[in-house]
């Protein structure tokens, strides 16, 4: 699901396993609770250990983008596996410059 760590104003959410509609709300509430507490400058979603994602993951990322920008921070999405990038490429997220 998600491992969180915080250092130098960067909150890193290390996602792992499969991201679908069943699991997305659980990831969302963990990340949002930490964000509201810590108010990081950067929220970094690390996809390195994600083995599967459908369009529910796109909704999750877009929602976190909204959430962190309301708190005055910015979103970064890193280490996106090739297959998962195919899903992101159908969204407008690749044009927002948050996918690294």
């Amino acid at each position: 699901m998600v491992d969180m760590s915080y250092k130098n104003d960067i909150l890193t959410a290390g996602l792992y396993g499969e991201i679908d509609h069943h699991i997305a709300p659980k990831i969302r509430s963990e990340i949002d609770a930490k964000c509201e507490n810590l108010r990081p400058k950067v929220l970094r979603l690390d996809f390195k250990a994600v083995s599967f994602m459908d369009s529910s993951g796109v909704g999750l990322v877009m929602g976190r983008q909204r959430c962190i920008s309301l708190l005055g921070g910015r979103l970064e999405v890193v280490n996106i596996p090739k297959q998962i990038n195919k899903v992101f490429s159908l969204s407008g997220l690749d044009k927002l410059g948050v996918l690294k």
């Binding site: 499969e18 679908d20 509609h21 369009s55 999750l60 297959q83 195919k86 969204s91 407008g92």
Partner: protein, 147 residues
């Protein structure tokens, strides 16, 4: 075109079954020796169609989701995902990228994913009766050393 293999599956429209459904279909396809990419494409498309039944077809109730999958002798897989839920009033609009009737962080990309990951997507629906989504894809027959 002859049917070489056929399986049917039905389960409750509970979100915990999304992972089960895509895993079951992808195991059924394993004898075709699909590439990692082909398998992942099918798994993602099935996940989208099944999630739609759970989220949209049965919004306030628990219903049944039916999957019917066939493999033909031409290495084509035909996967039908069916519900007896609320149905879709305007299929063309529903299939447009980013269109969603849900406010719950849905991206509106389910049909776009199905269309880009599969060779063919067909949708039949009747308001109040339910929806059938049919997904088709050819799995390449490659010599073993090219896999």
């Amino acid at each position: 075109m002859n049917i070489q293999n056929h399986m049917k599956l039905s389960f409750l429209s509970r979100s915990v079954n999304e992972a089960f459904a895509r895993a079951a279909v992808s195991s059924f396809l394993l004898p075709l020796d699909p590439t990692v990419t082909e398998l992942s494409d099918v798994r993602t498309a099935v996940s989208e169609a099944v999630t739609n039944c759970i989220v949209h077809a049965y919004p306030d109730t628990t219903g049944v989701v039916y999957i019917d999958a066939k493999i033909t002798d031409t290495n084509k897989v035909i996967i039908r995902i069916r519900d007896s839920g609320v149905g879709i009033e305007n299929i063309k609009q529903a299939m447009e990228p980013l269109f969603t009737t849900s406010s719950d962080e849905r991206a509106g990309l389910g049909f776009a994913v199905m269309q880009s990951f599969m060779d063919r997507v067909r949708v039949r629906s009747q308001k109040g009766k339910g929806t059938v989504v049919t997904l088709e894809k050819f799995i390449d027959k490659l010599p073993d050393d090219k896999k």
